[in-house]
């Protein structure tokens, strides 16, 4: 089985987000970038499937050279090889086009990715890739097993889950509790250095959106404290003052 895992390079979840004074750019100074947490579920599940059934896991990132440390990390966790499409990922369709092109070229059975990136929060690329390739997307999946050419999945829906069987090839997005993300071990880190990382040029520059500026949410005006002894007063305040009950 040939599996392609798409990963994004995102600010660590503890990052305090700030922007340039004109609001045009995200301040990256001092920010630690990590593999998008949702993509880690996809990557780990892909490696587990490969270990159980044989095959290969290729990681793909659409990004500039500064994403390579995290691509190497994905190789250290257990992917076999990597592709970096040398392009700044500014738009979901732009990214989806790259993934679809290289996915088609590689002839993968399964294309896995996280449900969304924790920076852009588009939750769009999965469906766009599926539509571009003319294959189904199952999103968001919380369980994925493969038996021959059939995948069995659980998809989260509001208020429950669905069990789905689908034929490969397939696009699947991952979220917890699909699996527990792995941390690379020393052997993995050593071997990752020599695993192939191919840098390829983008195909087309067709973006459909453009970010104009960023803004932080307004700060809270201050907290009103209620003594623990008279905690019941809170309920009255929520009804009469905040008017939410």
């Amino acid at each position: 089985m040939k599996i392609l895992v798409c990963i994004s390079n995102v600010p660590d979840t503890t990052t305090k987000i700030t922007f340039s004074p004109d609001g045009k750019a995200f301040n990256t100074a001092g920010v630690q970038f990590v593999i998008n947490p949702y993509d880690e579920y996809a990557l780990t599940r892909a490696i587990e499937l490969k270990e159980a059934q044989g095959g290969t896991v290729t990681v793909l990132n659409v990004g500039e050279a500064d994403t390579e440390p995290n691509i190497r990390k994905a190789l250290a966790i257990g992917a076999d090889d990597a592709i970096r499409v040398n392009l700044k990922p500014t738009d979901a369709f732009l990214v989806a086009q790259q993934i679809a092109h290289y996915a088609k070229e590689g002839g993968y059975d399964l294309i896995l990715m996280g449900r969304e990136s924790i920076d852009y929060n588009g939750f769009q690329v999965h469906g766009m890739v599926g539509e571009l390739l003319g294959i189904p997307t199952i999103a968001p999946a919380i369980k994925l097993d493969v038996n021959g050419s059939t995948a069995t999945l659980e998809r989260e829906i509001e208020g429950g889950k669905e069990v789905i069987e689908a034929s490969l090839p397939l696009v699947v997005t991952a979220q917890q509790p699909m699996t527990e993300p792995r941390i690379p071990n020393m052997r993995g880190i050593m071997t990752a250095r020599t695993k192939p990382l191919k840098v390829v040029e983008p195909v087309g520059q067709d973006a459909k959106t453009s970010v104009q500026n960023y803004e932080l949410p307004p700060a809270k005006s201050g907290v009103k404290m209620i003594p623990a002894e008279s905690a019941g007063d809170l309920i009255k305040l929520l009804r009469n003052e905040a008017k939410v009950l």
Binding site: P37, F93, A96, Q124, T137, G160, T209, I226
Partner: protein
Amino acid sequence: MSVLVVIECANGEVKKSSLEAASYGSKVAAALGTSATAVAIGDVQADALTRLGEQGVSKVLLDNDTRLHDFVAAAYVKVIAKAAEVENSTVIVLSNSNIGAAIGSRLAVKLGASLATNVVSLPQINGSSFTVRRGVFSGKAFSDVELTSDKKIIAVKKNALDIETAAGGTATVENFSADLSDADFATAPKETIRQSGDILLTEADLVVSGGRGLKGPENWHLIEDLAKALGAATACSKPVADVGWRPHHEHVGQTGITVSPNLYIAVGISGAIQHLAGVNSSKVIVVINKDPEAPFFKAADYGIVGDATEVVPKLIEAAKALDK
């Protein structure tokens, strides 16, 4: 060339998030000098659709193929694409749900449209260009995004915009068929497993959430009892889901569910930046924590310093005493 609104239905009713989408779509239609048409999919009664007139929708296209009662992306996309073609719609509005994201992303490719998800504002319309505000960095910031294609798809974040209701408004309901084939249902679910009786977290107006400060699963009844007394949904922090006290689908935060209820009550949650990201678009936040230095108090509207096991029973008692 009406604005097309995608309506999700369940148990015979229109989902609240779809009423928000209908209200949004009608306002966009008014700004463009046109009307709003809805396309309804799923299990719904015709009179629930007629009432969409209260949100300004003039016409509803209903595909009542029973195979559409379960969500199947390929089939839903086909129905909506057909409706967009019939209505000659260049703007499509849907809700930013799992279903909305699955439909919107495929439809954007099929129609060559620009897509904005997680949208929290009406568009600024400048000729053929729309600019909308959307949530980014998992609730830590907003960005203004220009949709540059002629066709636009907008997925509206839940509880971000008010539902405008004009009492007595009615929409005409027309039957509509996209002539679906069995192949369109290739990924239909084999089985649906529903949680019973709970209020849906993502649709809830009120949420009571618990963290490690509850000390153990044996105290979880405090969260459930308070939620029950208020008519709220329950949620939890990531550590609580990670240790298995609660299922992962209740985990609110940056890598879990993002909620934006009118009231979010956090009990025994310190307020790590990842958790705040998932809740900070809530309208009113209450924090109950025994540590007065807990960072969550900085993001709260109301706070109580105290132990959950002592404070929460008092809240339950006061909530029960409220006349409904």
